[in-house]
């Protein structure tokens, strides 16, 4: 599915990571500052690696050897950021429709209805993001990323800015997403509990390196304490 082999120097921090994922949901797991977000930004095209190769299936997104670097807007990789990043000057409906419009996709009312129902955001469509709760914002950010029909969905700590109650509110939607939307997902988190509920595979990152990769049993030691 996704294969990543990149190096990037960020100040004093050296990131050199190599991993592959299969279909389904893969977790990038590791402590804060281990380089998870930088990896996500390189996959999405927001950060350029110094060296290496990133490919989604047969499609090469970045290759320093052949000087390929597909810009972010042509990668069709949906990203849900920690802080949602909804456009404050647009209604929820226009936020949701933005990716479809910018990606040049035709209107698909059935898909729209399916996502709106899946995420339970039908009542928010005419509101503006400013007055929404954190949980509502994250659901809309997820819907916005899905409606561009991404080839891959990157979720960068989508629950980190939420309190426990809101986390429990969103987790079931993410599980439904994994089961129903059939979009491969990369789920970034430093919390083993979330990952165990959502992901089949785990890539464990520490200090800019891949420490281990495999199934969720990698997390057993973490959950114990």
């Amino acid at each position: 599915m996704l294969s990543v082999d990149v190096e990037k120097r960020l100040g004093d921090f050296n990131l050199a990571a190599k991993f592959e994922t299969a279909a389904g949901a893969t977790a990038l797991f590791g402590p804060s500052g281990s380089g998870k977000t930088s990896l996500v930004n390189m996959i999405g095209g927001l950060l350029t690696p110094d060296r290496g190769r990133i490919a989604l299936g047969e499609d090469v997104l970045f290759d320093s050897a052949t000087r390929i670097n597909v810009p972010a807007h042509r990668r069709r990789i949906g990203t849900v950021f920690q802080e949602g990043r909804l456009f404050p000057h647009m209604t929820v409906a226009r936020n949701l429709d933005y990716g479809r419009w910018m990606s040049g996709l035709s209107d698909d009312p059935a898909e729209w209805q399916r996502i709106v129902t899946l995420l339970d955001i039908g009542g928010l469509l005419q509101r503006r993001p400013g007055r929404l709760s954190g949980g509502e914002r994250q659901r809309i950010a997820i819907g916005r990323a899905l409606l561009m029909k991404p080839r891959l969905l990157l979720l960068d700590e989508p629950l980190a800015s939420l309190d426990r109650a809101r986390k429990l509110e969103i987790l079931p939607y993410l599980a439904r997403l994994r089961d129903e939307a059939k979009v491969p997902m990369i789920y970034v988190s430093h919390l083993a509990g979330e990952i165990q509920r959502l992901c089949q595979q785990v890539v464990r990152i520490e200090d800019g390196r891949v420490q281990a990769s495999g199934g969720v049993e990698l997390l057993d030691a973490e959950v114990a304490h």
């Binding site: 807007h73 404050p88 933005y98 503006r128």
Partner: protein
């Protein structure tokens, strides 16, 4: 209540036309320069910044004189433009050019600050959703900078309306062609019995300036509400 003579009306109308044209024409350039200064690092950036701000610190007469020797009929650029039918010297278009140049630093400064205040992560989010750089600018950057753009336009408009020194140096003080509100007030104060006419124009100037301020406040508030309200 205000019985303006035809000549006084002409000066008011001319000033409004000059200020509107100066603000409108300089707006795209102002947005482009503000964006360059806010977002790009390039060789000569400090120089560009300095040149843009020069009219703010130079004596206006000096700016007017520089415009005269550059854009006058025999000036380096003016003579070239005259060949294709664009004449600035002693025309209202020259007054608009002078006002635009004098107002440019205010326009650029306001827009630049609002570009710098934008959360760049929103632009990244737009890119991941498929927007190329032009669409990111048109659908995210510019709308979010709108309060600053409006503030800059109002400042520029007010400056253009009141500009005196550079205009009179560059295009003189010709009634009906280059005699703006400020120049007309100055002229009336220089002739015996001109006080009443000057007074009427002073009131007009105050009313226009206040209206511009109130309008900008209203637009800025509306734009602010759009971002933070329901």
């Amino acid at each position: 209540m205000l019985n303006l003579s035809p000549d006084e009306w002409t000066a008011v109308a001319l000033s409004l036309r000059i200020a509107v044209v100066a603000t409108g024409v300089s707006l795209p350039f102002g947005i482009a320069v503000a964006w360059l200064l806010a977002r790009k690092d390039f060789w000569g950036k400090a120089l560009l910044d300095g040149i843009v701000h020069l009219p703010l610190v130079l004596p206006p007469v000096v700016t007017g004189y520089l415009l005269l020797i550059t854009f006058g009929r025999k000036g380096a650029i003016g003579s070239l433009l005259a060949d294709i039918g664009i004449v600035f010297s002693f025309r209202w278009t020259g007054a608009a050019l002078a006002c635009g140049v004098m107002a440019f630093p205010l326009l650029v400064r306001a827009i630049r600050l609002s570009f710098e205040a934008i959360d760049r992560r929103l632009e990244d989010a737009a890119a991941t959703l498929g927007a190329n750089r032009m669409w990111v600018f048109l659908t995210v950057t510019l709308p979010l900078a709108l309060p600053g753009v409006i503030a800059g336009m109002v400042l520029a408009f007010a400056k253009a309306l009141g500009e005196f020194g550079a205009t009179i140096t560059f295009v003189s003080n010709i009634p009906g062609e280059t005699q703006t509100l400020s120049a007309a007030i100055y002229t009336f104060t220089q002739i015996p019995g001109g006080d009443a006419a000057a007074g009427r124009l002073v009131i007009i100037a105050i009313v226009i300036a206040l209206a511009a301020l109130v309008a900008s406040e209203w637009f800025a508030r509306r734009a602010g509400l759009r971002y933070h309200g329901d």
